[in-house]
Structures are given as C-alpha cells and as structure tokens.
C-alpha cells in the first residue's frame, strides 16, 4: 500500500476512535466500536503472524547451524506438537491442560525464582555499580521496608508494619504516581505524534 495512503488511513481511524471516546456522538461511538473490533481481529492475526516470525527466525538459526540451534530445533518441534494436539484434541482437553500445568507454569515460575536470585545479587552489588546519595536512599528504603514487612516467628516487629505501609503508601506511592503522571504525559504526546503523522512506525517515516 502506498505509504502516504496508509498514513492517512491511520490518522483518520485514530481521530475517529479518539473523538468517539470523548464526544457523545452516536455515529462516532458506533464507528469506534466497529473499528475496535477490527483492531481486535487484526491483533489476533498479528499474533499468528508473530508466531510465523518466530518459526522463521528459529528455522534460519537451524539452517545456518548457528550457536544454540539445538534449542531452536526443540522449540520448533514442541511448537508443532502442541499445535497439532490443540487442533486435534481442542484447547480444553485434559492433555492440553496438562501441558500448561506441567511445562509452561513450572518453567515460567522457575524463571521468576531465578529473577529473585538476580535481584538479590544486583542489590548486593549496587554499591559496586555506583555510590551516590540516591543509591544509599534506595538501599536503605529497600532494607527497611523488607525488614518491616517480613513476618518473623516471634512477631515482635509486627507492630512496625504500619510504618512500612506508610512508607509504601505515602512517599513510595507518591513518587510512583508522579512517575506515572510523567509517563502518562509522555504517552499522550507520543500517541499524538503518531496520530498526527509525525511518527509513522508503520513504515512511512
């Protein structure tokens, strides 16, 4: 498709959805709902295209015999086996459910556990990375909140848990909300840039 034409379509649809969200005009609301459904459909198709991209990348890795191509082969093999089972047995079959429970959940949970080790290690080495005021504040706050929220058998420090919650709810949440406000403004302007065609991640610019 001609890229200026694509940009025009993208801008027009974006404006319709935006106006339909803010302005109580029935026609715009209907159009917005229809376009949103198209977007949902396209998102599903995009997921399928993404899977093909995944297959292509790992197939190239196997064909070129790059490093780690064995794992790519395992990935493709299990992918096709799972796809065949899902098509033949259906997604609600007990075997499919077992695949999720026996493979996906344990693997991802293991990565999460590995993340715990990584974060502890990063926190320990934080002073090696940099020593400044913010790092000191960060580490002190981290240790204080963790220690106050940690349940200990004696329960002697449970009374100080309110202090920890106060730290979380007041300064930490206040700072986080400030960050979120900034992020929201950045998101707003970034979205407007795409809406106005200044940025065209769909290839135009």
């Amino acid at each position: 498709m001609n890229r200026p034409f694509a940009a025009a379509i993208a801008i027009a649809i974006g404006l319709i959805v935006l106006l339909g969200y803010f302005l109580p005009i029935p026609v715009l609301s209907v159009l917005r709902l229809e376009l949103v459904q198209w977007a949902i459909l396209l998102a599903g198709i995009a997921a399928l295209v993404g899977v093909f991209n995944l297959i292509s990348v790992h197939w190239q890795k196997i064909r070129r015999r790059e490093r780690g191509n064995f794992y790519s082969a395992v990935l493709l093999l299990t992918m096709f086996v799972t796809l065949a089972m899902g098509l033949l047995l259906g997604p609600t079959h007990s075997l499919m459910q077992s695949l999720v429970e026996a493979v996906i959940i344990p693997v991802e949970a293991s990565l999460m556990a590995l993340l715990a080790v990584t974060l502890v290690y990063a926190s320990i080495r934080l002073f090696r990375r940099r020593v400044d005021l913010m790092t000191v504040v960060f580490l002190l706050t981290l240790l204080l909140v963790l220690f106050l929220l940690t349940p200990i058998p004696s329960g002697g420090l449970s009374g100080l848990a309110d202090l920890a919650r106060s730290i979380i709810n007041v300064p930490a949440s206040g700072g986080a909300r400030g960050i979120l406000l900034g992020v929201a403004l950045g998101a707003l302007v970034t979205g407007l840039r795409v809406l106005l065609g200044m940025d065209r991640p769909y290839g135009g610019k």
Partner: protein, 768 residues
Amino acid sequence: MMAEIQCRNCGKLNPPELLKCQFCQLPLAAMDDEDETIRPGQVPTRKVTAELEPILPQWLREAREKSRKAAEEEAARQAAEAEHAAANREAPPDLLAGLEAQTRGEDIDEVPDWLAGMQGGPPRASERMETYPRRQEIRWEEEPAEAQPEDEMGGLVSSPQSEVTFDESGLPSWITGGAAEKEDAPAPARDERPISPFDTGSFRPNTGELAEFLPEEAAPSPAPAPTAASEGGLPDWLSKLPPVSGEPASGTPPALVDTGSLDLGPKPAEGLPDWMANLDAAFAPPGPEPEAPGKSDAFDLPADLPDWMKSTGSASESKPAEEDRGAFLSPLPPSEETPQPPPISSSPAFFPGMEPVSEEEVGELFAAELPDWLSNVAPAEPKHEPQAADAPISPGDLPSWVQAMRPVESVLPEAQAAPTTPAGPAEQQGPLAGLSGILPIVPGVGPSKRPTSHSNMLQASEDQQSNAALLEKLLASETEPKPLTSSSVVFSQRVLRWTISIILLLLVTIISLSGSQVTPLPILPGETFAAINAVNGLSNDAPILIVFDYEPSLSGEVEAAAASLIDNLILVHHPRLTLLSTSLNGPALAEHFMAATQSQHAYLPGTNYVNLGYLPGGAAGVLGFAEAPRVMMPRTLNGTSVWALPPGLDIKTIADYAAVIVLTDQAESARVWIEQAGPLMNGRPMLMVTSAQAGPMIQPYVLSGQVTGMVSGLAGGASVEQAAVRPGPSRRYWDAFGLTMLIVVLMIFIGSAWNLVVGIQARARGEA
C-alpha cells in the same frame, strides 16, 4: 615473381598457377582464402611490394616523395659533416628525445609526460602493440655483455658496463660490436634464438618480424631494393623520422621482399640501411682513441635546449665544434674500458650472416620490433635548420620530470652567475651518477643570510592550553586500555550467584517440607477487609465475572492470594462464574485455578462456570467486552454458545454481572479494567487480586473508590484465610516466605556493607 604455393595438407610446394596441389589434389586457393596468415613452418611468400606503390593513396605518395627529397638533402649535408664528427661516440641520451619531440610541436596531449619524454613521440595506435613482439621477444643476438644497455635511458649512466659506443658508421657498439664478435665467435646456440612469432602465435605478415630470427638460409635475398609497399602500414613514429640518407655501409642487407623498381632516392651505397645512415649522419665517426670528456659524443642536439644543458660544461662553450652536443654529457669521463670500434660490418649484429636488407625493410623491421625508447635515437633535426640556440625552453614547455631534474643553476640566478667548474666532482650515486659539474659547489647557493631562529616553545594562550589539556585527557581516557575482567572476578561473581541460589532454594524447600506454621499471619489490611465485605454482600447464585490476567510465572502468588477469597465466595453464595482472560495463557490458567484451588466445590464447566477464553485487543477489547460481551465473545473454547448456558443467561452488558473480580499481576492491566470497564458497571463492585508488586500501584484506585476492595500478594491472601478461618495455600507458604525474606534482607545488608567498604577502600587507594 610469384612464390610457389605450399600445400597446407602435404606441405609440398606447388607452382603458383596450380589451383590444386599436384601431390594431394586438394585445392590450394581455398586454403589461401581461408587464412592468409602464415602458419608455423611455412615459408613466407615473397611479394613485390613496389607493385603496390600505385595503389597507395595520393597523400601517402606525396609524403613519400617529399621524404625522398628531404633524404637527399640530408644525405648531402651529413656527408659533409661526417668528416668533422668525433670518432668514438657515446650513446645518444634518450633523455632528450622528448625535448625534440616537444620542440617540433607534436601533439602529445594523449601521452603522459614521462612517456612522451621517454619516447620522443606519442605511442600512437594501440593496435600497433598487437603486431609488436613482446618485450621479452626482442633478443639482441651476440650482444656483448658490456654493451647491453642497462636501462632505457639511452646509456645515460656512464658506467663502463653500460656505456654505449658507436662505431664508424654510427652504429652503437651493442650493434656492431656484436657483429664483430659474431665474425669470430661461433654461431649462436639454437636455444638462444629469439622466440619466433610463429611460436607465440603473434606473427603477422608484412610486419618484418621474421627478420629477427630467420636463419640465413631462409632468407634468400635478391638484390637489395627499397620497397614502399609496406609503408602504408608504417606507424606514425616511423613516418615522422627524418629523411634517411647517408653513407651506406658496405654489404647489402638481406631483403625479404622484392623491392622492384621503386625509386626511393639514393640508395645506401654499401647496403647500410638508411636508418643506420641516419645515425651515421647524426653522430660523428668514432675515433680510434677515446677523447677527452665532452668529445665522446657529437650528436646534434636541438638548439632550443635550455641554458642549463648548454652551460654545464665549459667544453661545450669553448669548443664550437661541440656546441651542439649534449652539454650535460660533456663532463663524462673517458671510459678506458670502452671497446675499440669494431670494423664496419656489412650487416647489423642482430642479422648474423644475413644479407643486408633494403632501407625500408629495415624500417619496417624496426617499426615492428624496435622498442619505443630506441625509436627516438635516430631522428635528428637537420643541423642547418634554424634553431634558437640561445632561447631556453620556458618552464612551461618542459616536461615535469625534466623540470625536476634541472640543476640548480637554472633556478638560482646566483648560481648561474658564478663561474662553473669545468669538471667538478663526479656524482657517485643516483641518476646523476658519473656526471660531474652538474650540481654547483660554489658558495652562496644556499640562503645568503642566517635563517631567523624561532623558539621551540609553543605560544598558546591559557584557553588553548586548557583545551589542549582537556583534549589530551579525553584522548587518554579513550586510548587507555580497559582492564579485562579477570577470571577471578568472574569466578567470584558466579560463586556469589550460586551461593545465593543455594541458600534460597534450601531455605524454601526445607521450611515448606517441614510444614512449619510458627510465623503469625499478618493483620488484615483495610482494602482486604473491604474485599471480604464486598464478597459477603453478594446475593446467592449471582453471575460473577472473574478475569484472569496474569502470567504463569506469577500464578503461584496470584492463585494463593485469590484462592481463599474465591473459595469463600463459592462456599457462601454458589455464584455462576464466567471466566475471561486477557492474557494468552489465561484460559489455561483459569482452568488450572479452578482445578487446583476450587476442586472441593465440584464446580462443573458449562454448568457452574464457563470459560470464555482469551479476549484480545487490550484496552479496546476490554472496552468492547464491557459494552457488548455477547458480540465480543460469542462462543466458548469448545465452540458452544456462551450466552445460552446458565452462567451467561442474563448477561447483556458488563453491568449485568453482580461483581467483577480481576486477578492480575500488573498494575497496568488492573488500570485498564478500572478505566475501561469500571464506568460501565453502574456501581457494581470491582475487586482486585494482585501480586505484591502491583498492589501499591492500585492502592490509589482503592482509596478513590474506583476499586471496591483489593487482595494484594501472599500477605493479602494469608490475611483473608485468617479472616475466613479456612486453611489455604497462603498459610502453607507463609513461614517459608517470611524466613527466606529475612535471610534475603540480611544478605543484602551484609553484601552492600561489604561492597561499600571495599569501594571506599578502592577509591582511597586510587586517590593515593
């Protein structure tokens, strides 16, 4: 006379009038028509080239006629001058050939300066190169070693080995000397024979290539006669040669072709080719003994030579007879090793035993075989031609390489004014080796006054110095090699990681397996209390929407947090549950949740709950589902209609659900549901079950009332279990979670303190 025709089939000779071979009966003409080139082993057919004179174009005939007239005049003039010429001569410096060509105003635009200077004329047609034998094919038979030119500068280098002398006929010694030796020496070995063009496949008729290698018996020479038949193919450089004349050498050069009766003017008296006669005219006959420096050569130089060439040697100024000689050659010391001029040979040395050839045959021969540098030896302007002897060549007319080689006198007036030493010290090295008096040794050539001394100290302002220091610092930091991470450091990092992993793994495993429940449960937070109250306030058999929006990695935490709340809900109200997911693995996680945590209620899919599956589209999908759930999710995962089943019977919008419970691990997902679906719920309770990391981010929505209640993390789930007084997964995990967290705090504290101290010490050492 027509030559016999050789049959290509049998190789035998046939009379020319025959059309077929008298031996093998194969046609002869066809063979000739097929290919006119001479094959290896075939005797060249003689042709009377003079017969071709009438068919020459008019302009060529006029040019030839003019050339003949000029040759006659030149012969007469050179005969008179030959009496005064020196006996022994140096080889003409090819160095000046280019000057001559330039003074004639030849067009050499297409030739590089260096090449024009070397050749004295532009190398014209490239096709000529195809007919020339290759450089390595040129072999000078019987050439004495001492007479071989070591370079192509015409023997400028005056070393005895490279010094070239001329005999009486003007031939260089490397030509005649070889011939002299040839008379005494045996015939050259067969393997020394030059490479035949037949062998190389480069032979073409009428190029004269055969003259070089044809044996004596293969060249039956009739009476020598000049021929003009081949002049039509003469190259430009040869056609520009001055008219040839002079005293012909004794003997007759071998002729490969019949020259007929073509009259080209006075023929060489003794068979010497005219190009040699030209040499003879240009150079005085050598004397029996080498004369003083400056007398060894007497060839004519162009009169428009620059001053530096004429004023170099005093001999050239003091001796009028030598004023036209190349002045820069005059200081050459006499070479005692110069061989005596051999007796005049009747034929060139490279034609051993051959009969003299005609003039034009020789010209044709050299047109084909002479190297370019040699082609400029012969041409010499007539001496009587008006030349501005005193007019130096302007620098613009000089080739660049000549300008570069000019002596200092020509540049520095001061040096020119100084008296020139007639014979200065001879140069020992370089291109001027053997030449004396070239470089001035007079005082005052250099700068006349002492050069101004400049301080070596850099004059820079403070800003410049500071900028330079900054630049130096930057460059130093860029070029400073970064120390590679030592293996010990990498090893210690791995050890630290493994140590942390082992400690955490052992703690969690041991405490979980021990079944310890010594750690007290947390106090019920306000938002969790609100969530429990909201659940308790629901009516029985009410439709409830439960959203599964978390990843499998956090399923353990979120399921533990939600298990008790949903258990309490099902236990108290027996609601009709609709399960929806906004993450890809959500449908399977929903089934896993119902099977893992709610199995005690025996809820059946399709009857007590329905799994709608994955809702794509993010915020847009949530908004669409909130507005029209039947449109967005018409069927279940099994393909059956959702809204005909008991859990979805009364549902048209999201407001028809009695409550919405969102199980999520990210604040962003919770925010999407709050912002997109919350406004459409008409005040129905929205409950959040989140991971511990997302809880604080959702807390503001709880405080603002957009979220009715929230259960956050394992602590929230444990508090719900405590309030409901029912055992659940949170209680089982609580002790392991608490103790492990305590160890983590200690590790971070100790490790951070250690690294802080080490870092401070390292900085102190660095500053010291």
